[in-house]
Amino acid sequence: MSKRLKNFSWLITVLLLLSVALIGCSSENTSKEKDSASGDTAVKKGGDLHVAIDAQPPTLDPQVSTTTATKEIARHIFETLLVLSPDYEVQPMLAESVDKSEDGLTYTFHLRQGVKFHNGKEMTAEDVVASMNRWLTVSTRAANAIGKGQFTEKDKYTVELKIEKPTVGVLDVIASTNQFAAIMPKEIIENAPKEGVTEIVGTGPFKFVEWKPDQYIQVAKYDDYKPVEAKPDGLAGKKEALVDNIMFEVVTDGSTRLGGITTGQYQIAYQIPSDNYEQIASSSDMKPILNLYGGLTMVFNKKQGPFTDQKLRQAVNTGINNKDVLVGAYGNDKFYRLDNGLMYKDQAKWYTDAGKEYYNQNDKEKAKQLLKESNYNGEEVRILTTRDYEYSYNSAVVLKEEMEKIGIKVKLDVVDWATLTTKRNDPAAWDAFITGFSPVSLPTQTLPLDPGYAGWPVDEKLQQYTEQIRTAPSDKDAYAVWEEMQEYVWKDYVPYIKIGDYYTFHAYRNQEIKGNTYFEGMILWNTSLTK
């Protein structure tokens, strides 16, 4: 007996050592927590901010990519001529002011002087011209909204934009936050390959330091940053880097981000799974930030297959219970909003509820009637969806149930995101797909209404409305047309169904940082560590 024990004694020693080490670790954690609780909350400069971001951006060039990760990081490095305030008003940033000519064909931008790029060079008209003209070619969205346009240099601090016909909302597009019109040095723009610039040099309060793929992206305070003298207001106003570094750590797994923010490894974590909302909200050292992410949408294929039949599309829209779909997709009712505006409620300038009597009808009988009137003959319709975005998949599951209740046979085609983006361009490969659309600054930029976009809403009346909005003499006239157009979309054409608005949430440690705000993405300037 004792002999056997002896043989095991070293094993026991190892185990003991291991457990001592583990206990050591746990006590270290508790002492850390104590520190944070007792720390005072005065604004402190310096320190590193650790942010867990949910996806690795494909590039940091915001002009090229429409991905959220690119936008979230790039907005700290690059700036635009104009920015949007939280109520979607256009505000100056790198341009001090803008004049619009009588005929609406010429915009003159007066640049702020003394703004320096991170490489030390002063920003002048030639940089702006090079950047803006590249943006007009690489961003289809910009080209769509502005039409044919050209920036030219007038003098060192003045540039001019000439467009072909008067257009509504030119400045809103220049100020928009997705695939934004970042100003970069001319030399870098000229050498930029198609897939994005290779040198990350902007004018923002933070400068790019290092990118370790799949690990982190580091940006550091830019000492020569020259802020505008105005009250900070979302993206607008004075910006100041209050920390030395921001480490954007790429953590693709939701529960890992949650774990990290819970244990204090990060001060901010993006996109926490919605089921954990209560856990964060009820915690004393963490706070959730709810933010409007976009509209959950089912897009129909109007080029090929059963949904070319308008009646069938109407039947689906009439029969489904939008609320059930949203609950299935997002769970907690804090994460969705039943609303039929194709522009969002928060965008006061464009929002309308026109056509709301056709939204969320949940009228199975009427739907069956419409189905009978349609040419649908019992074939299986394929809904394309992905598990890479959990809401897309979850809502598809509920939609399938809802549609089957009306009498439409549904098959889910679950693929990964990369496959979905390719597959949806092939009209023979799908009948409907599910995605989310983030807010755009103009109704004419609404992607699923673009005839070239997957789903192909090629419709004369739709085209007419779009053209009327574009060339409307005033914003007010444009708005009136938009109201009509939205009504038409819900009542008759139904090119897609906006199921509802949805929110996602980020979490931050409220005892450790302050000053962080949110507008179409996190804003981490004017944000400081409190200990």
Partner: protein, 317 residues
């Protein structure tokens, strides 16, 4: 010996050729492309097409293949579409975490396996032995990633002893580094431990039955000396083989476990690259993994000869 090594290395060539063709074929049969992933969900079709042309993705597949192979022979695995750096650099960056994890797992495995295996061998045929065999099978039967999930629930969520997941490089401090790797190392290590322990046991049992051990015992040598000095040494070759093989699997086979613990290693690199359709990285990494895998096996075979001169290197195609 030299000609043997040469032959083994030469036999690598057809294997690698097949691997590269298979990978290339799979990749290009896969729907989706890097351009649309890069440009994001709301990019237009024209922009995607333009970028595809620019990246050469619309060239015929065989042309892309030959272009790539040509580069490989010059030691160039191409550039990542996503990371704005050569594939070799990306691999090196992701190799660190994987190797750290593999070493820690292997240490865990050996620490568990050797004593248990030896113990079971000495108790062969008893109830203890059978229990041990049952437990070791349990070790093989639990998928690593599942064990990892269980560890997370217990050690990280309930007890809060360890961070849920993540990775800190060695430069952040040794303890900081190891703290993040403990759970994945246990998850991977126990499965390997079961394999090594079983091999240790059976190899020990076989050696214990050999005549020279019986002689040693008859001469009245101390039991411990018999076990550790004579038996273990002679039983070590098969044990070493298993250790080598399991190490090979750890380098790339830990992909799912790396995902569970969010460790930016080789396995994750491949999974992420498949998701993003980063063709060059997939091709390059798989090639690298294959070479490592085969080389480790070669080294293990060669070590045979060093440890036990009785083993002559012969035949086996």
């Amino acid at each position: 010996m030299k000609s043997y090594i040469l032959k083994r290395i030469l036999s690598l060539i057809p294997v690698l050729l097949i691997v590269s063709i298979v990978v290339f074929m799979i990749i290009h049969l896969t729907p989706g492309d890097p351009a649309s992933v890069m440009l994001g969900p709301e990019a237009s079709q024209e922009d995607v097409e333009q970028l595809k042309n620019h990246l050469g993705l619309n060239d015929p597949v065989y042309q892309q293949y030959f272009h790539w192979v040509e580069g490989v022979f010059q030691g160039d695995l191409g550039d990542s579409f996503f990371m704005d750096k050569p594939v070799t650099a990306a691999i090196i960056e992701h190799l660190g975490p994987t190797i750290s994890l593999a070493i820690l797992s292997q240490i865990t495995a050996i620490l568990i396996a050797l004593p248990l295996g030896i113990f079971a061998a000495r108790k062969r045929g008893t109830v203890t032995d059978q229990t041990f065999m049952g437990i070791s099978l349990l070790g093989i039967s639990i998928p690593h990633f599942l064990f990892g999930l269980f560890l997370i629930i217990i050690l990280a969520i309930n007890l809060r002893w360890l961070p849920v997941a993540g990775y800190r490089p060695l430069s952040a401090g040794l303890w900081e580094h190891i703290k993040y790797l403990i759970m994945p190392a246990i998850a991977l290590g126990t499965g390997q431990a079961a394999l090594i322990a079983r091999m240790t046991r059976s190899s020990m049992v076989e050696t214990l039955n050999l005549n020279f051990i019986k002689t040693a015992r008859a001469k009245g040598l101390h039991e411990r000396k018999v076990i550790y000095k004579h038996t273990l040494r002679n039983a070590f070759i098969p044990i070493l083989t298993v250790i080598g093989q399991t190490f090979g699997t750890l380098v790339a086979g830990a992909a799912v476990t790396e995902t569970v613990f969010n460790i930016p290693g080789i396995g994750q690199l491949i999974i992420n690259s498949v998701e993003r359709r980063d063709y060059m990285v997939i091709q390059g990494t798989v090639l690298m993994v294959t070479v490592t895998y085969v080389l480790i096996n070669l080294i293990v075979d060669l070590l045979y000869g060093v440890i036990d001169p009785r083993v002559r290197l012969k035949k086996e195609s």
